[in-house]
Symmetry: C2
Subunit: 481 residues, 2 copies
């Protein structure tokens, strides 16, 4: 084992880098200069905490950062190991135990996600999935919570399994009035963010071994979750107007999938929005093949007005609508929801009960207040305007850095072709402090990709594009692109 | 179809009964006098809303109440139907689609649970699983939240996947200092209540078809969740000192289960606490058979001092510790947690990420404040004292009503032998407004039971015991007991 030197990390604690960041940096340097070879095991958390005279949570934070940077990997019940540089094959090997799934996803999604959640990375993450903190409205959140606290008392009972009444009523009004989706409050179920809603739907409608249609490219967390639940992923190529209908029809006939999980509007990562004509065709196919569609509308508040939702066309007959407030209001409040046909909503509530019993009404009521006062609407308009400016700037910077947009820039994300393998590109950029989202993470079928997803709001720093160009040229120069 | 009469429900809306309660009462009366026969379908939610000129959510609430009272049952994608009175066989038929599980649990757990969450039922529910609202400390919760709000700002980012740092540090101190369980903050993962923690552990360590040891009697939600996940339940009889070691050893050899889910201290529903000697034997068996144990310590704050935890003996080597704050502080805050060996904790965090990303830091920090200020400790002591009084009273009332305690009365729950089939007994009591928890719900193997679980805190009303005696005598008189 390669133990790290027995020296405490330098003070001061209040400096610009946290202890965890300092430790991560030190280990990263050792890996980069070869002092820690690929395959070497890092000291255990306890051991490292003792060696460096820091708390175990500092070590966990440092190891998280190293994992997010792709420098180390966690092996089940064995610890952290230095990764082989860029061994794409390795990724498939970390698939969950006994998956037995024909189409393995890039399970290293968790590395990207952990990076996304890391506080330090938030400042400089062109690969982030959320708006920068500075774009959100803390005073609005404080006001909403203080209002809600004043009329509290619901903390003393579990609450309604379907969620807070005030929020479900507000959502029913929004869905009907703004998105054309008729859903009574009784058809709406609140969740711990949209992620939890997607999880509840999958657990209710599917059983292990079932086939599921997914957009490709698509969202890695969704692929990883479905795979972990034992489902077979059937990727459908996602084009500008919607899914490839020919491929979809063939997969429906050959595999009889039960579910199609899709982002219709401002698709992640491409930014594409389903056309009305394509939406109609998708629903016809769904009807012919008795397919249920989960429409993930996570980016609803950033969408252009009148973007068509499958759930609106279909009237929630064979669609389930999923959305939330993490991307516009408060990521950590973890308020999401789903809307479904009445009988299905009852089954989804049962699944919610078995997994979390209920959800915190305080935060749900605070969201309801923001909706009812029209303050969320106004905030969303401000954000959309700000995002338009950011998008223009990033399109220019990306162009100057020699990138091409693989899809027309819209919404929060740009889908950028770099000309080199972005999984390899991500490593030097991460080492330089820039978290990017390489294209292979959005593939249900593992393969190299020259694409990457950039967050228009958090990719405006010209220094990122300089670092990008340098790393890209170095890669291209080695003929590795 | 038996449509209900086309009359709006009487005003006033502000009366003692909600519209939903009025509607439920009206339907219940029609069922009881035979106007709605067993097997009849209730009007759909939309239809009923139109007929009665109430909102669909009012109808959903009414149907929920009827379901909780055992008068109607939901059939998947078909609606609500009047139940055959007391058809025990019916319960097994509601098992989840394609379960293919040898040992079916009483899935009607959801009816009990939905009843528990219903606000009206809370006032008069001897079968409830929580402390009455009046026993909890709303001013303490308000204070904690206002303190926490003042130092907020974390709502703007997702937060650490393992949970709020302050809470994990406070929990590490409590576990080490008070329960003898050494767990660094990095080994602790926060969850949406203990339920979510149990779900995360099962999803991480098991795959469909795996065998799982469970206590019998045990907690119905746990049985239902494991079954829904596709696991095979292996019930181990739970005695006064702990599980039946002979049965456990045989099941370990024959079925090679991967997991044992157990409540060591103040077991639900019996109130039993594992003896130190038995704990040692259980761990020896676990080691010999490479079994992981999930120790559900939901009632930790009501437990006598020095009650031994498996996790303390084992040092979290092959145990995972699960607990939360719903039973002592704030059910709707949904703050729970787990503690595990460092490498396993990392895997559990990944599962948490895939299902909910993170959890709300605001509520976690508020719990941390209550812990750090010693206010939760003081509150718990007051509750324990109050519970001692309630327990004495209920033991007397139950004795006067002719009941025998099947286990020495301890903690929150009494395990009472009534001499008649408690599933049948529950129906007239529910119609009279008393929610009870019949024994068959705590069986992993469906069979009639003369036992019921009573909540000492909410079974103090002498009128309940009168209603109980009347219903019991009526049943015994028909020879149906």
């Amino acid at each position: 084992m390669n133990a790290l030197p027995d020296l405490p990390i330098e003070p001061p604690r209040a400096g610009p880098r946290t202890l965890g960041e300092q430790l991560a940096l030190r280990v990263a340097e050792r890996i980069q200069r070869g002092a820690l070879a690929p395959g070497a095991r890092l000291p255990s958390v306890r051991e490292s905490a003792r060696l460096h005279r820091v708390s175990p949570s500092t070590v966990v934070s440092a190891y998280d950062q190293l994992q997010a940077q792709g420098l180390v990997e966690a092996r089940r019940q064995r610890g952290f190991f230095v990764r082989e540089p860029l061994a794409a094959a390795r990724i498939a090997a970390t698939a969950p135990r006994g998956a037995g799934v024909p189409l393995g996803p890039p399970v290293d999604a968790t590395a990207l996600i952990r990076g996304m959640f890391h506080q330090g990375a938030a400042a400089s993450g062109p690969g982030m999935g959320t708006l920068p903190e500075a774009w959100l409205d803390q005073p609005l959140l404080d006001r909403a919570l203080r209002r809600t606290l004043a009329q509290a008392g619901d903390a003393l009972r579990y609450g309604h399994p379907a969620g807070d009444d005030a929020l479900r009523q507000a959502l029913s009004r929004r869905l009907g009035g703004e998105l054309g989706i008729g859903a009574a409050p009784g058809q709406i179920v609140t969740t711990i963010g949209a992620t939890h809603a997607l999880d509840i739907v999958a657990r209710t409608l599917l059983q292990p071994g079932d086939a599921v249609l997914v957009d490709e490219p698509g969202w890695a967390v969704e692929f990883a979750r479905l795979t972990r639940l034992g489902m077979r992923l059937l990727p459908v190529p996602r084009g500008g107007d919607g899914p490839d209908l020919g491929v979809m029809a063939r997969l429906l006939t050959e595999h009889r999938p039960r579910l199609y999980v899709t982002v219709s509007v401002l698709h992640n990562p491409t930014g594409h929005t389903l056309s009305l004509a394509q939406a109609h065709q998708v629903l016809k196919l769904a009807e012919a093949h008795d397919l249920t569609i989960v429409e993930d509308d996570t980016y609803a508040w950033l969408a252009p007005p009148h973007a068509p939702r499958l759930s609106a066309l279909d009237g929630l007959q064979r669609t389930v609508y999923v959305s939330g407030f993490s991307k516009i209001l408060a990521p950590n409040w973890r308020v999401g929801y789903l809307a479904a046909a009445p009988a299905l909503a009852e089954r989804l509530i049962d699944t919610k009960l078995l997994g979390t019993l209920t959800t915190p009404a305080l935060l749900e009521r605070a969201v309801a207040w923001c909706l009812d006062q029209g303050l969320l609407r106004r905030h969303a308009e401000r954000v959309a305007q700000q995002l338009d400016g950011a998008r223009s700037r990033v399109v220019r910077l990306a162009g100057e850095a020699g990138c091409r947009f693989a899809a027309p820039p819209q919404g929060l994300f740009g889908w950028v072709d770099t000309g080199v393998d972005t999984e390899r590109l991500a490593v030097p950029l991460a080492a330089a402090g820039w978290l990017v989202a390489p294209g292979h993470l959005f593939q249900a079928t593992p393969r190299a990709s020259s694409l990457m997803r950039v967050n228009f709001a958090s990719a405006q720093d010209a220094r990122f594009w300089q670092a990008f160009a340098t790393a890209r040229d170095a890669l291209a120069g080695t003929g590795a692109g």
